[in-house]
Symmetry: C2
Subunit: 162 residues, 2 copies
DNA sequence: TGATATAGTCAATAAACTTGACTAAAATCC
DNA sequence: GGATTTTAGTCAAGTTTATTGACTATATCA
């Protein structure tokens, strides 16, 4: 949902809030993303947006092929291209022709991009710590584990041709 | 972030996936929403989208004021208006002038809207059951509880006047 | 060498949101 | 009771993140 640009807190009228798994997952993700993007912006990475987090978070420090980002992000190639166009305009990445395959582009982080990646790592940890302060380390670990199991690919055991 | 229209599965190259709290929250929410919207569409509610889920899911069956939806959804009034415009065009709701306050509008579900709400309740339960089948009832309950605690309003203890 | 597949671009559009400027009705304030 | 302010909502235009469709250039394969 996109989904939510400004992370307007939904936790206002606490009386009659809908209460089901989906809402709780949404709110958890919303809270995490808002904290993360806010901290990145506060750190000076003002070009950083939720959508760009999806790409930057999957960029290897040494760069990669555009096509690798495609499978890693799960975006369409057009969507990825637009995101990369934006990142390039913001001086976060550059794209160069792959010498081994002149159809392909190698996406590389600029100094600015590398700085952001390093801050991102720190900030991810910091956000986790903030959550840890709320629920405790053990429960946070349990939560992560449960989330992983929740979305573990069930197709690996039974593939019912889609 | 929205954020994700088509729920393209990101669980492909399982080798080098990023592994942090944010990703797991994202994937959990993504999976839930995709299952929910898909099932709603399959049930014949083809007008149902992720964004609309946010509104429909908070509509009391008997209708409410537009301004109430505003605080309930956390959207801006303009965003809400556009969503309601769309829902009205799709025959899911109608808006009538509030006789007690002629500035205000009462948002009411049509027959089509009420049918969707009833199916939504069933489908939410069904999605939960699918997840339950993966991790078990006890762990799913634990997960919900942890998620609730994760985003529990910390301002309720210390209110630093906004 | 010609057919086809792959990597990426260009163009147009949509969904879900944003800010800013506005109208009409109600509430408040001397 | 009339002027002012607040509340409820609309209109208009723009942004971010995504979509589908048509296209070009390079590589691969028969």
């Amino acid at each position: 949902m996109r989904i939510f640009r400004k992370s307007r807190s939904l936790t206002k009228n606490e009386g009659d809030l809908p209460d089901h798994l989906g809402i709780h997952l949404f709110r958890g993700y919303e809270a995490w993303l808002a904290m993360f993007v806010e901290a990145m912006n506060a750190q000076g990475h003002d070009w950083f947006t939720p959508g760009r987090a999806n790409i930057i978070g999957r960029m290897p420090r040494e760069g990669c092929k555009q096509s690798e980002l495609l499978t890693a992000t799960g975006l369409t190639k057009q969507a990825l291209q637009q995101m990369l166009d934006g990142l390039e305009q913001n001086g976060v990445i550059i794209r160069v022709v792959d010498p081994d395959d002149r159809r392909a582009r190698l996406v590389q982080l600029t100094e600015k991009g590398r700085a952001a990646l390093m801050d991102a790592d720190r900030i991810k940890a910091s956000v986790s710590e903030q959550f840890e302060a709320r629920v405790g380390a053990a429960d946070l670990a349990t939560l992560e584990d449960l989330l992983k199991r929740l979305v573990a690919d069930p197709a690996s055991s039974s593939k019912t041709g889609d």
